[in-house]
Amino acid sequence: MKNPIEIIDLSSIFEGLENKWVVLSKDNKKVLAVADEIEGLGKKINDGIVMKVPDPRYSFAPVTSFV
């Protein structure tokens, strides 16, 4: 039986935005705002889903470093 749920596909719309902060539309189809720091998203932060875009150069397993 085929998966009945549509995949949320961020692979294309996140291209070139690695490590940026973005506001994603609530339907997950469009990027509404981009900034280097979350503060740069301004009032757009209230318009959608706020995410830090993963860096596609690396597989993700959370690694910490001393700060």
């Binding site: 749920i5 995949i7 949320i8 994603l24 979350i38 150069r57 597989s59 470093s65 700060v67």
Partner: protein
């Protein structure tokens, strides 16, 4: 509630699928919608400091708790409690202990304390789906 995995690109330009979940973080009258990564290997909910700043929290005044990641080096985190609601799941808003972290790569990780302990979650990775519901048992 059945949800799909989220598709990203990996370092070979192939697709990689991760279980991310739309949630809302609440502090007082402020809120932010985001997507958190369901991380069964994490003890805690870990949230980037940026969200805390936008929610009006003075993070450096919070109790500092060390966290250990896979590279074995402890890092600073700051303990706080805030409300988290799973978008689309009624009665899912819970007050949870979280850790803020200053990280270039972490947005929100949803770990055991404060998240997995509050929900029934079933992964069906072979079909790129997962199910999340309120717990049947206390």
């Amino acid at each position: 509630m059945i949800l799909s995995y989220t598709r990203f690109k990996d370092e070979r330009n192939n697709f990689v699928h991760r279980p991310t979940l739309a949630i809302t973080l609440y502090v007082g009258s402020k809120s932010i919608k985001t997507r958190g990564l369901l991380d069964t290997g994490a003890d805690n909910i870990v949230i980037n400091n940026g969200f805390g700043r936008m929610l009006g929290i003075d993070i450096k005044k919070l109790p500092m708790r060390p966290l250990l990641g896979i590279n074995g080096v402890p890092t600073k985190s700051w303990e706080y409690s805030l409300d988290i609601e799973v978008d689309g799941l009624s009665n899912s808003r819970k007050t949870s202990e979280i850790r803020f972290i200053d990280s270039p790569s972490v947005g929100v990780l949803l770990g055991h304390r404060g998240f997995f302990e509050n929900f029934e979650i079933k992964f069906e990775t072979y079909a790129l789906m997962f199910e999340i519901d309120l717990p049947k048992y206390s």
